[in-house]
């Protein structure tokens, strides 16, 4: 059961490939996986497509992981979105309920949408 996903980033292919390996923007999670990453020009003015293929995995594995919120594909998508945000806007989108940016494990049980106090800010690593 092959797990694949893709995202499109609004930049030229050369720039995207360069930033993919640069330390500030490199998506750590995907790099650590045994995944196949391909880059392709998107039609028209849409930028560059990034395709990630996790390869065939155990069926049970994928199912149990989905329930624990650590679905491998969800984390890959998070990484891709984070990469896209960094490349296109220069920062990771944060809200008061998700101060660390998007994280698959934090979809349930988020903190309320109100500002963090100082200790929470420190814990979230955004001081």
């Amino acid at each position: 059961m092959s797990a694949r996903t893709a995202i499109t980033v609004n930049r030229d292919r050369d720039e995207v490939q360069r930033l993919w390996s640069e330390p500030g923007t490199r998506p750590d999670h995907i790099a650590d996986l045994d995944a196949t990453v391909t880059f392709k020009e998107a039609p028209g003015d849409r930028g560059t497509e990034i395709h990630v293929d996790l390869g065939p995995g155990g069926r049970l594995d994928a199912v149990t992981k989905r329930f624990t919120g650590a679905d491998p594909l969800a984390k890959v998508k998070d990484d891709l979105r984070r990469f896209k945000q960094l490349v296109e806007t220069g920062e990771i989108s944060r809200s008061d309920s998700t101060p660390e940016g998007e994280r698959a494990e934090r979809k349930l049980g988020q903190r309320p949408a109100q500002p963090l106090d100082d200790s929470e800010l420190q814990k979230a690593g955004v001081a």
Binding site: T8, N10, D45, R46, G47, A74, K77, D78, R81, K84, Q85, E88, T89, G90, E91, I92, S93, R94, S95, D96, S97, T98, P99, G101, E102, A104, K107, Q110, R111, P112, A113, Q114, P115, L116, D117, D118, L121, V126
Partner: protein
């Protein structure tokens, strides 16, 4: 700081919460001078939008003074008076570059949740549940505004808060509703819902050159405002006669309106007896999330080949959608959360020129601490309430 937080169905409370901080270098912090309660806030209040958490600060229509900026903010300085658009847009993605700001691909840090519901994520919105990112809203003393170079709009003259506050949401939303109707001059436009957004849709249709603008509602006082203030040429009061489709035909010589604007959304009040009761029960048991009476009537009433412009907010799924009518009459649907950033400057110019005074919708101006009673008054249409402005 004090803020109005969601505390369960039909409950909001003003509580003390921490002050917002700059989290990203493109953020700004705004000290809020005026904020408003939106009709779409009522969907949160009534418990119809999932992913709300106790403690979420509500409010997405706000303005005030910039008190702090992140290091990479260039277009704003401390002290600037700004109106903040409700959709959060990064300005750099494909959608933003094509002026589809409410479809920003980067501003929702809960994109995974939105993707499950809608197929793709859409923009982050202030104070509108965790589906749109879980951002703290503006019914508070201060707010953190991301992408401060893209959103906040500077006000550099003497207009009062109430004359410009609605540039954040309801004026551009109503205007976009009318803009979608492709008005060239001389059309008949029907606006379902004479709440604040409906009022602006009516006024915008008039400004754009429609010859006949029909306001549809069940409350006398809202229809009076539509006629006296917003420029509606005709009204339909469906509390007196429930057959809206027929009344619209009579008002348009049997043709039907050239375009219809749905400024009602998922909590449509009107229904034909049993269908309405069934809808309400289904909505209560969450087997259908959106009540569709207004939209159904709008589709049936619209003349063949016309345009159905949907600016009322819908969240989930609707039963009994008249797909046959839509297809066979060749109707065009245009819809979306308002791309405020696209309209805010031209509409500001109109206000400055005196073409329109948006403060006409304000019926209630109260301190932030009265938010709970204000929500109830607004929700139950008490005291001739149309629009509530809160002062923190």
């Amino acid at each position: 700081m004090r803020a109005n937080v969601w505390s369960g169905r039909n409950t909001v409370q003003v509580e003390n919460v921490p002050d917002p901080k700059v989290l990203n270098e493109r953020d700004a912090i705004v000290k809020i001078s005026s904020t408003a309660i939106c009709g779409s806030d009522l969907h949160l209040y009534d418990g119809y939008i999932p992913t709300m958490k106790r403690g979420d600060i509500l409010g997405h229509e706000f303005m005030g003074e910039v008190v702090e900026t992140g290091r990479r903010v260039e277009k704003l300085t401390v002290g600037d008076r700004v109106v903040v658009p409700f959709p959060i847009a990064c300005g750099n993605c494909w959608s933003c570059k094509h002026e589809l700001y409410s479809l920003c691909e980067n501003s929702n840090p809960n994109a995974g949740i939105a993707e499950k519901l809608f197929g793709h994520p859409t923009c982050g919105i202030f104070g509108y549940s965790h589906i749109t990112g879980g951002y703290a809203g503006g019914q508070a003393e201060y707010a953190r505004v991301p992408f401060a170079d893209v959103g906040p709009f500077k006000i550099e003259d003497d207009l009062t808060d109430e004359q410009v506050l609605f540039l954040s949401d309801i004026f551009p939303t109503g205007y976009m509703g009318a803009d979608f109707c492709d008005i060239k001059g001389g059309e008949s436009i029907a606006v379902f819902g004479a709440g604040p957004v409906g009022q602006f849709a009516i006024a915008s249709a008039v400004m754009l050159g429609a010859e006949q603008v029909i306001a549809i509602d069940q409350y006398d006082y809202r229809l009076a405002m539509a006629r006296n203030k917003a420029g509606a040429t005709d009204i339909v009061d469906f509390s007196k006669d429930a057959d809206i489709v027929e009344q619209l035909k009579l008002l348009t010589g049997g043709r039907g309106p050239d375009a219809v604007i749905d400024a009602v959304g998922m909590e449509a009040a009107h229904g034909h007896g049993a269908l309405h009761a069934a809808d309400r029960v289904k909505q209560a048991t969450r087997s259908e999330t959106d009540r569709g009476h207004a939209l159904r009537d709008a589709i049936l009433a619209c003349r063949p080949g016309g345009i159905v412009s949907i600016i009322g907010v819908y969240g989930g799924l609707m039963d009994k959608f008249p797909m046959g009518a839509l297809m066979n009459k060749g109707l065009t649907i245009r819809t979306g959360q308002c791309h405020v950033h696209r309209y805010i400057k031209p509409l500001y110019e109109r206000v400055r020129n005196g073409d329109i005074d948006p403060s006409f919708v304000v019926t209630h101006r109260l301190g932030l601490d009265l938010a709970p009673d204000a929500y109830e008054t607004f929700k139950h249409k008490q005291d001739e309430c149309v629009k509530v402005v809160l002062k923190p």
